[in-house]
């Protein structure tokens, strides 16, 4: 009898345990069965290169990494005016748990929608506002700029480097100054000349500016605008160029030495993973080489081996967080010391940068 009862008890326990494990397994699997929906808002069409293209590459990389656990949607070419709020709200309404809005002009609309949808998460690129369910993110593009500056400083023969730039906001100035500091670190005679085109995307003007810089003697040009016109102009004129945002080598196979490329894929993957795990919190992320958000495109064979070596060494130091392109002394154009020797510029100072460093020619457009 006892024996029998024990058997029954054991059997019951087994069944219970089995059922329990089956139920808990089912619970654990349940979230995986309904993919997390992720929305993206792009400021321009995706096209083949540039700011939005890199974000979309990041989205695809995230989708690939997380497979059936996610389902992503994007809306491209959304104007930064009154339309943005409607698009963001529509994405929130249709069940996108996290929404990435990838241009500065989406900041206020993102904030408004975030307040109306407290259960959704929002990440805004390149802005500064935060909220209980809204974070922001950006990359330290200037790190790549410094490296391209080093290459330019070593490879220029005329010692004149051309830079086509959009608007004198801190992000663009960080790039110009880092480029100049990189060049001057290996070639004190190097000088950076800047032309402002007052547009983020205007291939005609960008091309014209590049040709002007080349006619002024620049033998290496780069740009902080969104088209591939500058690389193409350099290719035509037999000069060198650095791409920006994307690897632009197919637009100038001879001219394109390398490019500062934006890598959002790992970041998007991490963010969405946190959303899936339920650990997502709004953060302000400003990542660089260390976080894998910045990378140089493959170097052109024209880059000499010793230069390549220097770049690889610096890349290692950036990854390890041992080197900062704005390590003092940082002097501005007028010779005024902005960062004393031995000190590293603070993120706050970077965010307010409104001067040219030594080595940049010309005057900053007056306010």
């Amino acid at each position: 009898m006892m024996h029998c009862r024990a058997l029954i008890r054991m059997g019951c326990a087994c069944a219970a345990a089995f059922a329990a494990s089956w139920i808990s397994g089912a619970i654990a699997q349940a979230p995986a069965q309904t993919p997390v929906k992720v929305g993206f808002v792009y400021v321009s069409p995706i096209s083949d290169a540039g700011w939005t293209f890199q974000h979309d590459q990041g989205r695809k990389q995230m989708e690939q990494a997380l497979g059936s656990k996610v389902q992503s949607k994007y809306v491209e070419n959304v104007a930064e005016g009154a339309d943005a709020e409607r698009v963001i709200r529509e994405l929130a309404q249709s069940g996108n748990t996290i929404i990435f809005t990838t241009s500065f002009g989406y900041m206020n609309p993102t904030e408004k929608v975030a307040k109306q949808f407290p259960k959704n998460d929002f990440m805004h690129a390149t802005g500064y506002k935060m909220g209980p369910n809204m974070g922001n993110y950006n990359a330290r593009f200037y790190e790549g700029r410094y490296l391209t500056g080093v290459i330019a400083g070593k490879m220029t023969k005329s010692n004149i480097l051309g830079y086509v730039a959009a608007f004198p906001i801190p992000e663009v100035l960080q790039g110009i100054n880092a480029f100049a500091r990189g060049a001057r670190s290996v070639n004190p005679k190097a000088e950076v000349r800047v032309i402002w085109v007052n547009s983020w995307y205007d291939p005609g003007k960008e091309r014209e500016a590049a040709l002007t810089l080349i006619s002024q003697g620049a033998d290496i040009v780069t740009h902080h605008t969104d088209s591939t016109a500058v690389v193409q102009a350099a290719e035509e004129k037999g000069k060198y160029a650095f791409g920006y945002h994307s690897d632009m080598s197919k637009y100038g196979p001879k001219a394109h030495l390398t490019a500062t490329t934006h890598q959002w894929g790992d970041f998007y993957t991490r963010q969405v993973q946190e959303v899936i795990a339920g650990t997502w919190k709004p953060m302000s992320t400003w990542g660089g080489y260390k976080e894998g958000m910045i990378k140089l495109a493959p170097l052109n064979p024209a880059v000499p081996a010793d230069v390549k070596e220097t770049v690889v060494k610096l890349e290692g130091e950036l990854k390890a967080g041992k080197f900062h392109p704005f390590t003092g002394p940082v002097k501005d154009q007028s010779g005024k010391e902005r960062v004393p020797a031995g000190k590293v510029i603070s993120d706050d100072e970077l965010g307010k940068m409104d001067y040219y460093v030594e080595g940049v020619a010309g005057n900053l457009p007056k306010k």
């Binding site: 929305g39 069409p45 949607k73 994007y74 809306v75 491209e76 070419n77 959304v78 104007a79 930064e80 005016g81 009154a82 339309d83 709020e85 409607r86 698009v87 529509e90 994405l91 249709s94 500065f104 002009g105 206020n108 802005g127 500064y128 608007f167 004198p168 906001i169 801190p170 007052n198 965010g351 307010k352 409104d354 007056k366 306010k367």
Partner: protein, 353 residues
Amino acid sequence: MFKLEARPQASLAMRYASPAIAVVLMLIAGVVVFSALGRNPIEGFQVFFLNPMRDLNAVTELLLKATPLMLIAVGLAVGFRANVWNIGAEGQFLMGAVAATAVALAFQSSESALVLPTMVVAGAIGGALWAALPALLKTRFNANEILTSLMLVYIAQLAVSWLVFGPWRDPAGFNFPQTEMFSDAALLPMLIEGTRLNYAFILALGVLAAGYVFMERSYTGFKMRVAGESEAAARYAGYSAVTTIWIGLLAGGAAAGLAGMAEVAGPVGQLTDKISSGYGFAAIIVAFVGRLNPIGIFFASLLMALLYIGGEQAQQYLSLPASISKVFQGMLLFFLLGSDVFIQYRLRRSARQ
């Protein structure tokens, strides 16, 4: 083999029916487009054309998007009817936004109920002043207003850019190109709480009505219509060509300026360098699809707004590219012009030589 032959009398009924014919043809062609893209045409139709009208919130968004279009288009129609070709509504829109912003920023700490009416007046004056330049150049130097008004768009864009990067930049905005957010006294109140539809829509309806009275019922409107249909007849009747040009441009400028004001004081709430989404140019299409008639313009602006929003929905729910909106806009215009041709002309088989 075929030739187009002018009809002795073009049908008036058909002239008004042609936008409807164009819409029907666009929908039929849309079925082909959706099928060619490998999408179910019924689903495509539903997402593109019905989703933007699915509930109150969606309808208010549609009206919000249509508001600047109807405002600008009715102002332009006044000039277009008199052969005054103001292509620069985009610039006048921006200058209206600038003038309204100047008022809003000057009274940022005021709670007076007069701030908003002042902004409305300032917006209209700002737009009208920008349109006065081509009017002056046309009447004084006979400079082509198509060119001058268009070129002034670029100047207006650069002026806005200078203002938001320079003197009007939000000091707490990390050097980004935008002004401070306006205070509540400088924002248009909502028409329906919980939506973004504001009183600018009522203002637009008022301007449409005023446009109707002016163009269809007033003597000046009649004189301008005569000038548009036959310059020689207008001259013979002693109607002033100069007055026609001035009224044509100022009406367009003032209406576009109002639209600019409504945008900064409405859904955006600040001036940025991206304030216009090309409304000034889209409104030219709206004016013509609406037959330069205020009632037609009302429906045409709703249709254009529908095409914009439908395009967004098609991206989000059908993963179609953003250019789908432009494809539909292009088809609409194509069929409209096509219908017009066959209303004015008929196809005749010509004898083989």
